[in-house]
Amino acid sequence: MQSRREFIRQAGTHFGALAMAAMLQSDVQSASGHAVQVLHHPPKAKRVVQLFMAGAASHIDLWDHKPLLEKFHGQPSDFGEPVETFQNGLGPWMKSPFKFASYGKTGKQLSEVVAPLGECVDDIAFVHNMVGKTGVHSQATYLQATGFQLPGFPGVGAWVSYGLGSINDNLPTFVVLPDHRGFASNGPKNWGSAFLPASAQGTTIFPQRENPIDDLTARADFITAAGDRDGLAVLERMNRLHLQQHPGDSRLEARIRSYELAAAMQLSAPEALDISGETAETMKMYGLDRMGAIYPDKINPAEEAEYFGRKCLIARRLLERGVRFIQIWSGNDNGFPRRNWDSHEDIERDHGPLARGMAVGTAALLKDLKRTGMLDDTIVLWTTEFGRMPSTQGSRGRDHNPFVFTNWMCGGGIRGGVTHGESDPWGYKPLDRSRSTQVYDIHATILHQLGIDHKRLTVRHDGIDRRLTDVHGHVINELV
């Protein structure tokens, strides 16, 4: 708790100040004995964007080229060991239905469906030896989103908000942009605050909805602009009078302040979400040049690009306005027809449009951030639940592969144009099985870039000093 107070003091801004008032509320807060230092070391990044592919995006069809699969395509698969599968067994080896080509100075091989990211590849650090702990969607989503397989733990964005507080005074610290079709596995629990203060939780924004943020605008008829203003004024008067008569309770002041903040948010959020002032060029870059088009029922790249691109553009606008952590989701829950990355049946059918759409928005975001210089202190993390098998499932789809998958990071002081860790020639497990990368390492690295030692950002819950990285995690020094 002490650490939070210190962090907030460090952040020194309004949301922080508000939360600080709540934290310092003397009747509730007992002092603990030792002070935690201000940021543990000089930060390289201030903000984070996490791109989360729900359903498990295939590493070997997007980022991790496997020529061997082309050679052995169609031949019976042999993993050399019993493999725990998640659906109906393992068919023959299957090459990617997509073509790969090399990009950037390093000649990094990328799939045609993510070709727009070719221009950014020299800024990206790929981690091809990610391993998970489970092939169950919900558990794997929790693991990547919160660092724990079970529910009940704060999302990574909540930890960052908790640790660093806000850098703006009229927008939430942690914003979640869900897939427009709905939530992925576990829904809001992926970005909940759990045992951290509610102020750390993610606020969902559905940019395309009439009410993008809950309760942002009034509903009752009797609320009018003028009345609202008067109503706020009378409320303010009442609260001020009450405060005078009840001194010595910082919560009262904090709540008054939070009304002011809410009012500010009412004004600033619609502005932040309004993309009508963006140039035609920008709109085109984000795949938003055919807004209002009628799309076919079948999943298609243009529609995916529009929805994902819009979230990316909104993300840039929110980052500019001081939102600390943004989580963007692609894909909703694991239903039919597939509107997520869980391509058991047909990689080409689902991964094709989803990836093409994702790549347009993502590339635009990276380039836009780079153009404005914000990429220097903004980390973009691309992640998913787990990878997919190098064999078929007797069809054109792939089963779950928690044994290896890919993450990549870009910006915020992360070294670009590098690959950390490789998968084996099949893309089945890490090449060096004794040295893999886990979500804890990714999280530790991100916190490190933000100036936080992941072992020292703790909060005591149920008698245990909890942290984002549990008892694991190493900063990936090669990438920072």
Binding site: V28, L216, N239, R255
Partner: protein
């Protein structure tokens, strides 16, 4: 004194330094203090900080009486927390990580130089803690923790005074302490404790709260609703001495009381109406509400707390009637998160019982001995064995006698139909599964021969295939063969050849078979297999023959030989059965009983083999409920679809009667083991079901089989267990004061905070037990005290002396929780509907809203509602002992813009308009109703001005009288809205 010192700002430290400065001349604890010593100390001290002289002398001189010497240098209060924070992680009870053989949680002579009693300077612990050398320094630099100089001084003094260890305060028996006699007036025993502690610091209670605010406080505290203006007036005008006592009694008699305190309890019980852990959507409990209603009823009936606990842990073991409503109490154990893994499910039960009822963090000991408290892993698994012996039955008992209605009749009919359909499929498919498994003996033996490691089957993934290895069945084979003796006629060779090296296998096998054949003697003895009287040979001749012909060169080949034989024998049996059945119908060929054509069935030799397939206790002779766990995915999905139709009926049928979410315990539980590092595959020593050793006198006696939970329940509420009563009174206290006497209510262990008033805590705990564990009596005791009735005003001087208000020099102001806030808004708007108590949950989000009390609202564990997460609702993932309290803009957005608050404002405004003839009267009505007080003149003027302002945008456009009326109504609604959103409404003094 030391305790106070710790929380004091600097001047006290100076005072204490004065004492330390003279340490060498100070008497040790236990030494006889001479008056001259006292004088000397007094002189020394007064040289430094004379103003603090009095309290010092009082306390130190008091060392001559017993009470004060104990309180003076408390290991539990002062020393242990420091050791826990800096040392015990590596030098505590956890043997596996203990460094250098040094243990610092108990007196231990493992490293004599660590603590040299009486000599802090000679004690290595001090040297290490203060060292600047990174190699020497403790805690090691990477732990990033340094004790403060104050803390070092405490340790020094403790060592100087003899370094006496004592068991942790919370595990010590509850002693009924003497009630102190403070010089200031005090109304109750509670006040005597509080005021004594305050006056040691020169502090006093705040003035008594005015009656209007007092009844508001009492009303929100006990029933979670504001008082009615009439109730306020009656109390204000009641001059009788027991006026407040009457208010308390009236509130305690209200059914609203159980709804308020029941909700507090549901936080602990991590109550929710859905399973949790569902990846997509959610699954509802059809009967969670029966537990919620049981809890509310228990509070309203003032069920004694010990009975309340016993029923919640073991209602099914109390010989209640089959339909006793108290059976619903078991929901305490069964409404938790439905984890995929049984181990997690049991962990949750252990957690809710130990942390929720006893303030112990036992769940920490799942993987390792507790790092800070005396909770070994074996204790965790003793509790594991207690809970793992129980299961939730498929058929839950109906509670009470449902009225025979047409709806009930229809429900029963549908239930019977759906259960028949489901059972038909389950029975058949279980038989199919067993039948397949009987044909797969070779597959399982081969896996075992290959050395396939055991797989955790607590969360199994279903297969699409019929021919692959079912881990559950493999485990059963593994376990079965492990306990089989090697003189078994069939598996003897298998067991004797186990672990024979590959290069010797063929030879040894050959030799063994020959020896066995010799053992059996003349094979002709067994030739007449159709003879029913034939005795089974020592070694099964078919097994020997099969092995002899196949000449296996490895255990795997041996497995295949066995597999072939088992399949042959089983298929022969199935054919034999079919043929025998044909003899039973006209036209079939009838044979004599011992006809050679009955040999397949009659053969004792075949019987020896078949017994491993059919005899109860063998791997495949498993009950249906286990067999269906191995079904293929499509079959399993269809079957669970049929089960879901029953679930839906329970959930949605209007005739579905309430049922208790009970557990049933096996009278013959299996053996349980410690699971090392929490790994289900890594079984350690066996455990019995027993209570925590730290709370048992010498050895913990095992609970009776079949009544393990009852044994646990009795241990939890046993007079020998000091935790339960302490935790309970602390919980009651906390819900009145906003803060507990122990400020870490779910951790009374070493890592928790010691009580602010240890003796008061014990006083309350002993009175609580003496009152027959009556919660309502405890409310009376607390609420009739001066400390409860004092006001919440700030006091700068007191704040300086006691910044955290630990001594309670003022009443902590409380903010309404989510439920109380919503209910209070409905109450003042006149909409709150309390006609029905209990029943199925209503949906918070429905439109129009359901104006029932929030405790009856649907709680979705899978998809936490926005309002719950925004307003710090209890997170039903696990036991919530303390809700966080945050202030975030989302809350104020809700207060400004939600339809809920706007509609309540409109309703209350409409009431106000009708309540009085003039605007001032209406304003007064609103203040009475919403704030329980009349407005002052300024407030009236300001409000009237607000509602009657005519020159703004809205009214300038209002052309007709109708529009003007509407605009005025809007102004009243806005005023009411501001009042509902105000701090005065949501904070209670």
């Amino acid at each position: 004194m030391l305790r106070h010192f710790k929380d004091d700002p600097c001047p006290d430290f100076v005072r204490w330094r004065g004492l330390q400065w003279k340490a060498s001349s100070l008497p040790r604890i236990g030494a006889v203090i001479q008056p001259a010593d006292i004088r000397e100390m007094k002189t020394t001290r007064s040289l430094y900080v004379s103003s603090l002289c009095v309290s010092f002398v009082v306390c130190f001189a008091g060392q001559m009486d017993l009470r004060c010497s104990a309180a003076d240098m408390s290991f539990s209060q002062d020393v242990r927390p420091i050791l826990a924070e800096y040392c015990l992680h590596c030098h505590g009870p956890d043997e596996q990580v203990r460094e250098a053989g040094l243990r610092l949680d108990i007196a231990d002579t493992g490293v004599p130089s660590a603590i040299v009693a009486g000599h802090p300077d000679a004690s290595e612990i001090i040297a290490r803690l203060t060292s600047t050398d990174p190699d020497e320094r403790m805690p090691p630099p990477e732990m990033d923790k340094r004790p403060s100089s104050d803390e070092i001084e405490v340790l020094r003094r403790w060592i100087a005074e003899g370094a006496a260890f004592e068991s942790h305060w919370a595990y010590q028996p509850i002693r009924k302490p003497n009630v102190p006699s403070p010089s200031e007036p005090a109304s109750t025993d509670i006040d005597r404790f509080i005021i004594s502690a305050l006056s040691e610091k020169g502090l006093t209670l705040s003035p008594t709260l005015n009656r209007r605010q007092l009844i508001r406080r009492a009303s929100f505290d006990l029933i979670g609703l504001p008082p009615t203006p009439e109730g306020v007036d009656a109390f204000v005008e009641d001059s009788s001495p027991d006026a407040f006592a009457k208010v308390i009694d009236r509130l305690l008699e209200s059914p609203r009381y159980g709804e308020r305190w029941g909700r507090h309890w549901l936080d602990i019980a991590r109550y929710a109406d859905t399973h949790g852990g569902t990846a997509i959507g959610y699954v509802r409990f059809p009967f969670s509400y029966t537990y919620r209603d049981y809890v509310i009823r228990a509070f309203n009936d003032n069920l004694s707390y010990d009975q309340f606990v016993i029923q919640q842990l073991a209602a099914d073991q109390l010989d209640l009637d089959d339909n006793d409503p108290a059976l619903a109490a078991s929901g305490f154990l069964t409404v938790g998160m439905q984890f995929r893994s049984i181990h997690d499910l049991i962990d949750d039960q252990i957690d809710v019982v130990t942390r929720g009822l006893m303030g112990m963090t036992v769940a920490c000991a799942r993987c390792h001995d507790h790092k800070f408290d005396a909770i070994p892993t074996s204790d965790y698994y003793s509790l594991y064995a207690t809970f793992a012996s129980s299961q939730q039955p498929d058929d839950l008992p109906v509670l009470g006698d449902p009225k025979p209605t047409a709806e009930l009749e229809q429900y029963q009919k549908q239930l019977q139909d759906r259960q028949t359909v489901q059972r038909d499929m389950a029975r058949d498919q279980a038989e199919v599964m067993r039948s397949r498994l009987r044909n797969q003996v070779g597959l399982f033996l081969s896996e075992l021969a290959k050395g396939t490691p055991e797989q955790d089957v607590s969360a199994e993934i279903l297969s699409y295939r019929t021919d692959d290895v079912r881990p559950l069945a493999l485990n059963r084979w593994r376990e079965y063969l492990r306990q089989l003796h090697d003189d078994d006629p069939v598996f003897g060779p298998w067991l004797k050849l186990d672990e024979v090296p590959a290069d010797q296998f063929a030879d040894q096998c050959e030799r063994l078979i020959q020896t066995m054949k010799t053992d059996n003697g003349d094979p002709k003895k067994f030739a007449e297999t159709h003879q029913l009287s034939l005795e089974g040979p020592k070694w099964n001749p078919r097994v020997l023959e099969t092995i002899e012909t196949s000449k296996p060169k490895s255990q795997i080949e041996l497995a295949q030989a066995y597999g072939k034989l088992f399949a042959e024998v089983n298929q022969g049996w199935l054919r034999g059965l079919l043929e025998s059945s044909r003899e039973a119908v006209p036209g079939g060929e009838i044979l004599t009983d011992e006809d050679p054509r009955h040999a397949e069935v009659n053969s004792t030799i075949n019987q020896q083999i078949r017994r491993h397939l059919y005899e109860p206790g063998t791997p495949i002779a498993m009950p249906d409920e286990i067999a269906v766990k191995m079904l293929n995915r499509t079959v399993a999905d269809t079957l669970s679809g049929k089960r879901n139709t029953i679930h839906d009926l329970h959930l949605n049928s209007p005739g579905s009667p309430p049922r208790g979410m009970v557990l049933r315990e096996s009278k013959y539980p299996p053996t349980f083991h410690v699971l090392q590092r929490g790994n289900p595959l890594s079984r350690g020593e066996t455990v019995t079901a027993h209570f925590l050793t730290a709370l048992s006198d010498d050895t913990a006696r095992p609970f009776d089989d079949g009544k393990r939970r009852l044994g646990l329940a009795l241990a939890v509420v046993s007079p020998e267990n000091p935790l339960t009563a302490r935790v309970a009174v602390n919980w009651i206290w906390r819900n009145h004061f906003g803060l507990g006497l122990v400020r870490t209510p779910d951790d009374l262990g070493t890592r928790g905070t010691p009580p602010t008033h240890p003796e008061l805590l014990d006083h309350l705990a002993s009175e609580f037990v003496a009152d027959g564990w009556s919660i309502k009596q405890m409310h009376r005791r607390i609420m009739l005290s001066d400390v409860y009735q004092q006001s919440a005003i700030e006091n700068g001087l007191a704040r300086q002396a006691d910044p955290n208000n630990e001594l309670l020099w003022r009443m902590p102001r409380k903010r309404l929780e989510l439920e109380a806030m919503r209910d209070a808004m409905l109450a003042v708007s006149g909409e709150l509907d309390t006609t029905v108590i209990g029943g199925r949950p209503f949906d918070f989000e429905s439109a129009p809203i359901v104006p029932r009390r929030s405790v009856y609202g649907f709680i979705n564990r899978d998809i936490i509602s926005n309002i719950a997460s925004t307003f710090d609702g209890a997170d039903p993932t696990s036991c919530t002992v303390e809700r966080p309290t945050t202030i975030v803009p989302q809350q104020t957005l809700y207060a400004l813009n939600s339809g809920f608050i706007q509609d309540r404002a409109a309703s209350v405004a409409a009431l106000a308009t009708n309540a009085a003839a003039d605007d001032a009267g209406r304003v007064r009505w609103l203040y009475d109703r919403l704030f329980s007080r009349p407005p002052d003149q300024d407030e009236v003027r300001s409000a009237v001005e607000f509602v009657s302002r005519t020159n703004d945008d809205e009214t300038s456009d209002a052309e007709t009288q109708e529009e003007l009326t509407e605009t005025t109504a809007n102004r009243w609604a806005q005023l009411a809205h501001a009042m509902l959103a105000s701090n005065e409404f949501v904070f209670v003094d």
